[in-house]
Subunit: 133 residues, 6 copies
């Protein structure tokens, strides 16, 4: 038995990717990433929820806001890291997990077992990262 | 190896949610829930299917019909239960599992191992519940 | 030549519809309406925009917020009005037009010629209302 | 009577926008624009088409390819132009219209009366530009 | 001022297209066409609707059912007609207009001024046909 | 920890299905299948990727191209096989796995652990098949 709750937000960023495998994406370009954050647990709180969806939405918006309208090539948080869609999934999932651990997502979030973050980079490509809490 | 088949329907309901965590959703309001029911198995029938998609569609429509155009606060089935998206996912999944057990979804459904129900409450939020059959 | 800019939000409401034509929707039920507001003009501002998308988003969110998590049957604004999807489209479009007229959507909005509002009530039904500004 | 045919592609670009109205989007950032190009006519060719969809797809892909994986701030084509979503719609529509005029979209395209280009910048915002051919 | 109401259904058909312009689509192949039927009017009925959405849904389902799970190359209705997406849009719109004229869509439909039918043949291509009623 | 990368393409085919369970789908008809291919791994390459998305896209396009604009009833590859959505998911996933094994998807693909293929047959039905690499 697994319950999940998912909320969606988005970021709009510039970046470039280092490595021949990326072809033209080695040039500075950009992307809208539509971000889905899924929170999973095997039980519900007394209120009947996996997580307070309001707090989850706020946390995702806050993390998205810290990334959006930026050139990721200039952000310290990504120094030495290729900001591939996969890496950005992990980055956002890890930030969400920290906030769960700190209690910021409320009491119900104490039961969370997994976080999965999916980034849609276009209508024909997306990536995800799933991790335990 | 896992095969799944998913069918989609929807319900339009009124309800209210008890608990401070729900903020303005404590007031009577409503939602369209777009409902996805996924049926999973590790093998296919001789016909090459997981489940008779016609029977699965009918079963989902029947369950959706029993919920739709109603105020869930007045429904006996939900007495004492907060009708959160998570709970509604479980309610629908459990009703589908009963119908599988009763043979209503046909012979192929005998191989079903899992049912997952996802309810989309808006373009930016959804929940799901997965259970064994 | 026509430019449009569209922003999306949503509302979650309870309501009932008076009239035999509505069948089971005469009962108290509810809906998520995903709301698209389109602003049209035949020229762009010096900045190259139809309307300040930030102000347009704020205006739509504010109007959506005034409707959401409510039972429309109890709202004075809709006394004596069937809150069909069509009527709600018109209601929201008219509120947006008032805000354009009041200058709340900024200078660029002075060139707006049309507003169209679309409400999606499910994955298989939607309605719209288009009007001059 | 109006027929339209629409094809979809996408571009991934970096850019910045000049003007206080753009707030944080004045910084270098980026976007995926999902691009829909619609071709309209009031009659069909003898083959029963508005336009050769293969040629239309190729033309859109070619134009999209000339923009994608670039920093629009450095492109000569946009010197002195704010690359708002509205302006990019017009730019792509105008390039398509030139190709129609040159015969590149085939014989059927001779009957085209309108071109409309829509750019989706996220799941909650898009813009369009419609022009005669 | 224009109101529209749109309902969605789908058909799954085989067909082939005659003419060099169609390339590989000259071979027998098939398509799912997701069908959107839009009904437009400049006023609402006393009930606050453009058209009885139940009757509109039934009419579209009936027309879709008459086409679905068939090889259009063998259907008398299309003898001598290339069943392009554009032509199928017109075919369905014309059948809907006949039903409106016959009174089958109810009293409110008497005010209908336009019908537009859109057929989505994939996630990257669609066509439409708009006509007066 | 699991990373996935997904790319989307589509096929348009005719076919018929043998077996009473398929009702009207026993007749020759057709479908657009929107195809999502997901590649899963628990680690990333030094470049920060699960798989070279360009090579993955090319491989999927090549497999889709070998199926598209055909009558599957006449294809040797499917002799004696009901081309249900489930079976087509498996067919495409198996072809992708062969290409991964042959090295065609590049070095990063050496870490792939799973492939999942989802075929959307309409806006209300889809199927998937997941397998180890």
């Amino acid at each position: 038995m697994t319950f999940t709750v998912t909320v969606r937000d988005h970021i709009m960023v510039a970046h470039s990717l280092a490595g021949e495998v990326f072809g033209p994406a080695q040039r500075l370009h950009g992307a809208t990433f539509v971000v889905d954050a899924s929170f999973g647990a095997s039980t519900l709180s007394d209120d009947g929820i996996v997580v307070d969806i309001g707090l989850a939405t706020d946390a995702l918006r806050d993390i998205a806001g810290s990334l959006s309208y930026r050139n990721l090539d200039d952000e310290e948080a990504f120094a030495g890291i290729n900001t591939t869609t996969e890496q950005l999934c992990r980055f956002i999932a890890d930030r969400l997990a920290e906030r769960v651990a700190s209690g910021e997502l409320g009491d119900a979030a104490g039961r969370l077992e997994t976080i999965e973050v999916t980034l849609h980079e276009s209508h024909i490509a997306w990536a995800s990262y799933a991790r335990p809490v």
